[in-house]
Symmetry: C2
Subunit: 178 residues, 2 copies
DNA sequence: CTTAACCTTTCCGTAAACGGCAACCTCAGG
DNA sequence: CCTGAGGTTGCCGTTTACGGAAAGGTTAAG
């Protein structure tokens, strides 16, 4: 079993402008192979397709699903959101719509010669990212406020502890410094 | 409809030493009332009881569930974990076991006259809190790394944008500053 | 060409987290 | 004492996110 390292998270691809059609044909893996690579079951992968989270890059003559590197990245992205962030597949679907739109934007960007349109594409992409970030930040803030209250409680206990450790010789009831 | 403000999160009670049996009898609400207060359905509350997340402080003569302020705080805690943090009820159960142990510790703390035992109780409580915090921090870090990669992408787009905005007069193809 | 290993769709099952009855009981007010 | 609002247990239904088996087609190797 290829150990279940949660692979690098972060979304598929990073460079909207730099893919000059490098003629590396990505190998096109079959479903069990990608399952091993990303650490999912074939069942899950088919399920994700069923609910529209991704479609394989191609199908073989005999209808075998064939996945390319982009698909794998996308699946890793999904797994990261699911396992790490605890998002529901519905929420992931939302984020992926943005992701898909970004991909479309990359295409539009490359095919566009007009700086005006390029500007628009970039601004749109940035807006989408901002929305993703806002979603994530909201969750983070809530978690942080929980951490905060926990550490407050911890500090309170630590206060009592110090009080006790200053025991024996001193006051029996020191008023707790609020 | 009492607006669905997500109430203060953070766990039930904060002061292990200061409750001197203040004779305020907390009102003991019935299930629908607490449902309204915390923003849950009665069904959910009963379900949480079914799976052992909480038990009402008391039952009326005719077996009505009666909840006190602690119960409400606990329910708010549960709701915060569920809605805000996206924890499963199973995970929440874990965190609540710690919470319950903390409550027991408060009792032991009050009833103990021995500084040695008091020390032990405090240390145990702090250890439990540390574990909670570690759990929360883990989730936070994963989310933050997602935010990071998103902001990186954003910066990348912003770079292209700046490139375009320095358009017209300058180089047609400025090499992207890595 | 055969065959084992892998794949396909289809369908049925499951655990979690409730929603929503039914049938009955309880509580506060007039 | 009666009544209506609210509560109780019990049980079945539902959605999500898959697991697993059946029945059959596909592929690469020999």
């Amino acid at each position: 079993m290829p150990d279940p390292v949660t692979p690098v998270l972060g979304s598929p691809q990073a460079d909207p402008a730099a893919s000059h059609d490098t003629d590396e044909a990505s190998p096109l893996l079959r479903i069990q192979e990608v399952a091993d690579v990303v650490g999912l079951t074939t069942r899950s992968i088919r399920y994700y397709e069923e609910i529209g989270l991704l479609a394989p890059a191609a199908r073989s003559e005999g209808a075998y699903r064939l996945y390319d590197a982009d698909d794998i990245a996308r699946l890793q992205f999904i797994k990261g959101l699911r396992d790490d962030a605890g998002f529901s597949l519905a929420e992931i679907g939302q984020l992926l719509e943005d992701e898909t739109a970004r991909a479309a934007n990359r295409a539009r960007f490359r095919e566009s010669r007009s700086p005006r349109e390029r500007r628009a594409v970039l601004l749109d992409g940035m807006a989408r990212i901002d929305r993703q970030v806002a979603t994530l930040r909201a969750k983070i803030e809530r978690l942080q406020s929980m951490v905060q209250s926990a550490t407050d409680r911890r500090a309170h206990l630590a206060g009592h502890l110090a009080e006790i450790d200053a025991e024996g010789h001193v006051r029996p009831h020191a008023p707790v410094p609020r």
